[in-house]
C-alpha cells in the first residue's frame, strides 16, 4: 500500500479522540457512559472486549463494552474483581496474558488518578484483530478522559443526593413549623377563650356586686333612718308610728340577704 501522507493516521486518530472526548463530556450519568464508549472506541483501538474499573475506596464502578455493540454499567466491591485484575491492581505493573484456546489476549493497566482514586483498564482482543502496542498512548488518554468524567459525575451525583437530602430536611422542617404554628394558634385561641370567659364572669360578678349592694343597702338605710329619728320624736309617736315600720324593714333586710345568697349560688353554678 502506498503511503502518501505520513500524518494521515495521526489526523484520523486525533479526530476520533476529539469525538470520543466530546461524546463522553455530553454524558449525564454513569449508566449511559458504556454506550458512548462503545460508539467511539472502535475508531481508536482494536479490541474485542473493554473493561474499565473506577475504584474509589472499596466501591468500584464497572464499565463493560464489547465489539458487537453490547455495553453495561454496574458496581461491585473491590474483592469481587477477578484474580488477574487483582494482581495488576496490587502490583501496579501493566500486564498481559494470552489464551491459546480462544486465541485472545488480555492487556491490563492500572492508573493513579486524582483524589487517590485508581482505575483499572482491561482490553481483550482476538489474535485476528490484535491490540496494537502503538495504541498504548491512546489508552492513557482514554483513561484520563474517563476518570475525569466519572469523578465529575460522581461529584454531581453526590451534590444531587445532598440536595435531595436537604430538600427532605427542608420539607420536614416546614412540616414541623406548621405543627408549631398550629400549636401556637391553638394556644392563642385557648387564651382568647379563657380571657373572654374571665371577662364574662368578671362582668357578671360586677353586676352581682352592684345588685347586692343596692338590694342590701336600700332596706338598711331605712333601718338606719328609723334608728336616727328616735331622738327627734316623742316616745309614744315613735312606738306607734315607727316601730312597726322598723320591724318591717328589718324583715325586708333579712329577705334581701337571703336573695343575695341565693343569687351568689346561682352564679357559682353557672361558672362551674
Amino acid at each position: 500500500m502506498e503511503v502518501s501522507n505520513p500524518y494521515l493516521g495521526y489526523k484520523i486518530l486525533f479526530e476520533a479522540m476529539v469525538k470520543f472526548s466530546a461524546g463522553i463530556s455530553m454524558i449525564k450519568n454513569l449508566e449511559e457512559l458504556p454506550l458512548e464508549i462503545n460508539l467511539h472506541l472502535k475508531y481508536l483501538i482494536n479490541f474485542q472486549e473493554f473493561n474499565y474499573y473506577f475504584i474509589k475506596e472499596n466501591k468500584v464502578d464497572c464499565l463493560w463494552v464489547n465489539q458487537t455493540g453490547k455495553a453495561s454499567y454496574s458496581t461491585c466491591s473491590l474483592d469481587q474483581l477477578d484474580a488477574f485484575a487483582q494482581q495488576v491492581l496490587e502490583s501496579g505493573v501493566p500486564a498481559s496474558k494470552y489464551c491459546k484456546v480462544s486465541k485472545t489476549s488480555i492487556h491490563s493497566w492500572k492508573f493513579y488518578n486524582e483524589n487517590n482514586h485508581f482505575s483499572l483498564l482491561l482490553i481483550r482482543s482476538h489474535s485476528d484483530n490484535p491490540f496494537a502496542d502503538k495504541s498504548i498512548p491512546l489508552i492513557k488518554v482514554v483513561n484520563k478522559i474517563l476518570s475525569a468524567r466519572i469523578e465529575n459525575l460522581n461529584m454531581v451525583q453526590l451534590i444531587h443526593f445532598q440536595n435531595q437530602k436537604l430538600a427532605r430536611l427542608t420539607t420536614a422542617l416546614q412540616a414541623k413549623n406548621k405543627e408549631i404554628e398550629a400549636l401556637n394558634r391553638k394556644q392563642e385561641s385557648t387564651i382568647i377563650e379563657k380571657t373572654s370567659r374571665l371577662k364574662d364572669s368578671n362582668s357578671k360578678l360586677k353586676g352581682l356586686i352592684q345588685f347586692n349592694s343596692h338590694q342590701l343597702r336600700e332596706p338598711l338605710t331605712r333601718v338606719i333612718d328609723m334608728v336616727a329619728i328616735k331622738d327627734d320624736l316623742p316616745v309614744e309617736e315613735y312606738i306607734s308610728d315607727i316601730l312597726p315600720l322598723l320591724s318591717e324593714s328589718v324583715l325586708d333586710l333579712d329577705r334581701a340577704i337571703i336573695e343575695v345568697v341565693q343569687r351568689s349560688e346561682v352564679f357559682d353554678n353557672e361558672e362551674n
Partner: protein, 80 residues
C-alpha cells in the same frame, strides 16, 4: 499511512465506503458483514453508506461536468 496506528474497524469502514463510492454504489452482502464484524451497528452502517452515496453523487456530477476528482480519496482507499 501507518496501518498499525489506525484500528481495523476504522480501516474496514473506510475501505468499504471507498469501494462503494468508487464502484458506482456497488455493495454486496459481504460488505455489510464486514462492517457488522468490525462492530458497527445498523444505524452506523446506514450512515457510512450515506457517505458513500454522497461521494458517488459528487463523482457523477464531476464526471458529467468534467471536474477532476480530489485525488486524496482515491489515494486513501488504496493506502488502507
Amino acid at each position: 499511512m501507518d496501518s498499525e496506528l489506525v484500528p481495523n474497524s476504522y480501516k474496514v469502514a473506510v475501505r468499504t465506503v471507498a469501494n462503494a463510492a468508487l464502484s458506482d454504489g456497488h455493495v454486496e452482502e459481504k460488505d455489510f458483514d464486514a462492517l457488522m464484524n468490525a462492530g458497527f451497528n445498523e444505524d452506523e452502517i446506514q450512515e457510512l453508506f450515506a457517505q458513500a452515496d454522497l461521494v458517488n453523487m459528487l463523482n457523477t456530477i464531476a464526471n458529467i461536468s468534467g471536474i477532476k476528482i480530489d485525488n486524496e480519496i482515491v489515494e486513501l482507499s488504496y493506502s488502507l
